[in-house]
Symmetry: C2
Subunit: 121 residues, 2 copies
């Protein structure tokens, strides 16, 4: 039986939480094209600058974005490598799921074989 091991400081929690919002996902998409200032990121978004700053803080907490202040301008940069553990988690689950399906397939084949052998006796 699969054991449950609590992980109270999971980076995965923070990354999944950061990605659970359309505005934050859009910011990541925008930053894939290259660094942007907070004003650049805020410009097309239908929200206040302070709301944008809050969203950026969530992305920073998840280590998805790094910001740097030069004079009065804060620039945001994507840390795309922070997506890797999330990517890995999903890929691992999809593999576990596919393996379970394969095992089920083998079981059903074995069962069909046994039934057809019994029919022949």
């Amino acid at each position: 039986m699969l054991q449950y091991v609590a992980d109270p400081d999971s980076g995965l929690d923070r990354v999944f939480h950061a990605l659970a919002d359309g505005s934050r996902r859009w910011m990541i998409e925008r930053l894939c094209a290259g660094p942007a200032t907070v004003s650049d990121l805020a410009e097309p978004l239908p929200m206040s600058l302070s709301a944008v700053v809050q969203h950026i803080k969530v992305l920073e907490a998840a280590d998805l974005v790094r910001t740097q202040k030069t004079g009065r301008v804060r620039t945001c940069e994507l840390r795309a490598e922070a997506l890797r553990p999330v990517d890995r988690w999903i890929a691992d689950r999809q593999r576990m799921w596919a393996d379970a399906f394969d095992r089920l397939g083998e079981l059903l084949t074995d069962e069909a074989r046994t039934t057809s052998q019994e029919d022949m006796t």
Copy 2:
């Protein structure tokens, strides 16, 4: 410039939110091995049955889990296909990021070539 298009009813929001909790991720992991009753899922978790039921509701809302009641027993089953849009979103971003890096590499190569040609004149 990348446009922002709000998507108020995004399934992605719900799936990422559902995955942003270690207990819920553990439930998905457990259900990869096959269906389980609510009691099976609750057994190793350090929380009340009603907290477990709340987590299952979040997984159901994200369409990651389907439940069925037979008599007094509720069984949970994984809908692994609900992970696919999340998987696709991450893969697309990683590709956008890699493309941006390739473009940057080309720009730097072009620049180096121009500089070295200038040096030769």
